[in-house]
Amino acid sequence: MTESSRAFFDRLNDQGFDPRLGRARGTLRFDVRDNGQVEQWCISLDRGAVQVSRGGRHADCEVRLDRSVLDGIVDGTVNPTAALLRGVIGATGNFDLLLHLQRLFPARPDEPATAAGAHHE
């Protein structure tokens, strides 16, 4: 796993709380494929509180994807919903949790910080 994905999970864990997660509660597991190996990350959400840990446990929502796809998601170049429809992400279980988690992923890097017309102040 490259630094970007790992840094993202680390930051999530260090932060410990993000209001954007709303009232979502449950666990997600990411199975990240990289050069024939699978690295597993568990994320637990509890009404804004976030905990990230390594290793495989059963989770409410299980997500399988290549490392390159995850890197793209955390740097904003891959849209997870489109990627799911495209078949490069496999997911089973509670999609609601994955949609909540998506709120934390950044915008495309080429987006201007303030888009035209968005915030007049």
Binding site: G22, A91, L99, H120
Partner: protein, 709 residues
């Protein structure tokens, strides 16, 4: 849908065929089996001994099931009636078709029956715009099943076709060698399953039987309990009872369950182009249906809320807090050639989200959902101030940032010429249409109530109320057209009034942004000759520069629009006017067998004597389906206040009695009774249409009895 086509549907799966049940390939018409915005069958043709069959009749058993009665031979003069064929098709996750051949003759018959099948896996957008495919097709026979596939990179869809009897399966279809004894029959069940392959696995989205791959669900029972859970309507006007039942069944048909909803459903917008979640349509339909099926609102709120915008993304016209406009599942969305994953380009869904949340709480007392969605509702309210005020003048306006595939018009009247001045001038962008200001006002007022009641944040409530009061004051000053005594349709990019008289002023009454002193003039316009056709309020007033009685948003009558106008009139105490509009629309429904179209012509009622359907392909459409429900609410004057249901009926002339039984809510179950003062016993022969009498609704309903059961 044209008259020569038959459609059955369930959620976002639907089949459109000809009257024999056959599907012929068409690159541009929505014929075929569709699921998840993809055409899984583009050809499905039944032949007996190499010949196609002739249709005797079709029987629409249920919205999800049709039966085709066919005979062999295509001759128009003589048909050999010794062999008949019955196809019964039920849609589910794909469809199931039972084919029965009946030999009426005295001799045994031997024949060859064949089904030819093909799938082009077109994205619905490709069918609309006739675009070419980029991936590769496959077809093969696996384990006596015909598997049609399409792959583009990892995007993988399959149609799997199998039969319950021995069949000769090849790559283009299934063939059966059949012998039928005299006066006997032969039957086969054919199953067509649509599958989505992702990450090497088949996504399990089976709606009615988790894990079971069979296409046929137990839908009949589901429909029975759906209708059974809704309040019972009894009245002395049969067409209204039929319209009511039609609405409930069509709403059931339009239920759509996104993958994240855990089997719960929300209203999709309409067949065939809009069988998916839309911010605006799903919210308006949920509002209309609240007294009848509040579960739709709960799912709409949850599913829109979880997809709320979180970042600034110009491709999707996304902002933090913005509620989605449209969600799609097809190939073009998957490859980001279209922005619908989801697309956010609408200016009304975000304030309306808060409006629905508040109205939902009033009808259900479900404060848990209001707590669960606190973050989303606050973010929606912030969006109004931080992202929607594009001109910096304190009004919600819209201008798309995705100029290739985004939507230019982000209000409900979304056609290119819908917003204009009296002289027909079309303004530039951004545009601040008037109804958006009403929705924003209402969202703030209702948000304040939720903040005080559920979130226990009185500072937020005070701030929202102050903002709402300020918005109302400014709006009544800046949008008021002095010489016409109505509100301008919009403010243009320079803040100047776009001054045509349009139906949008009715939504302003619904939102409560109209100052009391101006309400009478607005109500008079709504039922005046320029706007009111006799059937309903026209989208644009007769006499305006762009008025055209069959122009999509510039003169036609939209039933959904009228239902909210009637609600608005009731809100300001205009009982007769509201009843008059309800009467006109319900009269029109009778001409459409209880299924109101998206829109009909704005010709004067005295000229055409019947409502002229707008030539559109979208039926049933969700918010037209919800219209009779909201009109029932306005006629009965149902208003949920502090856990109680107020019933204050005002019936149109021509309806003597309406009883709506078992209305669910925090009050338990309540029956609402309404009586007109006309003597229904003396009527004989055909009832005059209820909208016909001049000054209808003179016969005002008496105060009703209310009791808990």
């Amino acid at each position: 849908m044209s008259d020569s086509q038959v459609s059955i549907l369930d959620g976002n799966t639907f089949v459109v065929s000809d009257r024999c049940g056959d599907i012929d390939p068409s690159p541009t018409d929505p014929t075929g089996l569709f699921a998840w915005d993809t055409r899984f069958l583009s050809q499905w043709v039944l032949t007996v001994d190499g010949s196609r069959l002739s249709s005797l009749s079709t029987d629409d058993l249920q919205y999800f099931q049709t039966r085709f009665f066919l005979v062999s031979g295509t001759g128009t003069v003589y048909v050999d009636a010794k062999l008949s064929v019955i196809r019964t098709r039920s849609v589910g996750d794909g469809f199931q078709e039972q084919i029965t051949l009946l030999n009426h003759g005295e001799e045994p018959v031997e024949l060859q029956m064949r089904i030819d099948a093909d799938a082009d896996f077109a994205d619905l957008f490709e069918v609309k715009d006739a675009l070419a495919k980029q991936g590769t097709y496959s077809r093969g026979v696996e384990d006596r099943r015909l598997v049609l596939g399409y792959k583009r990179e990892e995007f993988h869809r399959e149609t799997v076709i199998s039969a319950s009897r021995e069949a000769d399966v090849d790559e283009h279809g299934l063939a059966f060698a059949i012998r039928i004894e005299p006066k006997s029959e032969w039957t086969v069940d054919i199953e067509v399953v649509t599958t989505v392959v992702a990450g090497g696995e088949r996504l399990d989205h089976t709606k009615y039987r988790g894990g079971n791959r069979r296409a046929s669900p137990n839908m009949e029972k589901d429909l029975e309990s759906w209708v059974g859970d809704a309040p019972t309507l009894e009245c002395d006007w049969d067409p209204l009872e039929r319209t009511y039942t039609r609405s409930l069944v069509d709403l059931a048909a339009l239920r759509f369950s996104p993958l994240s909803a855990g089997g719960r459903s929300l209203p999709a917008a309409g067949l065939p182009w809009f069988m998916t979640m839309f911010g605006r349509d799903s919210i308006f339909t949920s509002l209309q249906a609240l007294p009848f099926t509040p579960e739709l609102a709960a799912t709409t709120l949850r599913e829109l809320g979880v997809r709320q915008g979180a970042r600034v993304d110009d491709f999707r016209d996304e902002d933090p807090g913005r509620i989605p406009h449209e969600l799609r599942y097809g190939e073009l969305t998957a490859f980001e050639e279209r922005p619908h994953s989801p697309y956010y380009g609408t200016a009304d869904a975000t304030p309306l989200f808060v409006v629905l949340l508040d109205e939902y709480e009033r009808w259900t007392g479900d404060r848990k959902l209001v707590r669960d969605l606190e973050y989303e509702a606050r973010a929606a309210l912030r969006w109004i101030d931080d992202y929607a005020d594009l001109m910096g003048n304190g009004y919600v306006s819209y201008k798309r940032r995705n100029e290739q595939t985004g939507l230019e018009n982000q209000c409900w009247k979304d056609s290119w010429d819908s917003i204009s001045g009296r002289d027909g001038t079309i303004p530039g962008f951004p545009r601040a249409t008037c109804e958006l200001q009403g929705y924003a006002y209402d969202a703030k007022v209702r948000g304040a109530r939720l903040a005080r009641l559920v979130w226990k944040d009185s500072a937020l409530a005070d701030a929202l109320e102050a903002q709402a009061a300020d918005l109302k004051r400014r709006f009544n000053r800046d949008f008021w057209v002095e010489d016409g005594e109505y509100f301008a349709l919009a403010l243009d990019q320079d803040g100047a009034q776009v001054d045509a008289l349009a139906s949008n002023i009715g939504h302003l009454l619904w939102s409560g942004i109209v100052e009391k002193s101006k309400a009478k003039a607005i109500a008079a316009h709504l039922v005046g000759p320029a706007l009111f056709s006799g059937w309903g309020v026209r989208t644009l007033a007769e006499g305006e520069g762009r008025f055209n009685p069959i122009g999509y948003h510039v003169g036609t009558v939209w039933p959904f629009d009228n239902s909210f106008i009637a609600w608005g009139l009731r809100r300001y105490g205009f009982r007769d006017e509201a009843a008059r509009i309800a009467a006109g629309i319900l009269d029109a429904a009778e001409f459409f067998d209880g299924r109101l179209p998206e829109a009909f012509g704005g010709y004067d009622r005295s000229v055409t004597r019947y409502p002229v359907q707008y030539p559109t392909a979208c039926s049933p459409q969700a918010w037209s389906t919800g219209t009779p429900l909201l009109l029932l609410r306005t006629m009965l004057g149902l208003e949920p206040i502090d856990g109680h249901l107020i019933v204050d009926p005002a019936l149109p002339h021509g309806i003597g009695r309406i009883e709506l039984l078992d209305i669910r809510g925090p009050w338990g179950r309540i029956d609402a009774f309404a009586r007109g003062r006309i003597d229904t016993g003396k009527r004989s022969g055909l009832r005059p249409q209820i909208g016909d009498s001049r000054g209808a609704a003179k016969e005002r309903g008496r105060r009703s009895r209310v009791h808990n059961t």
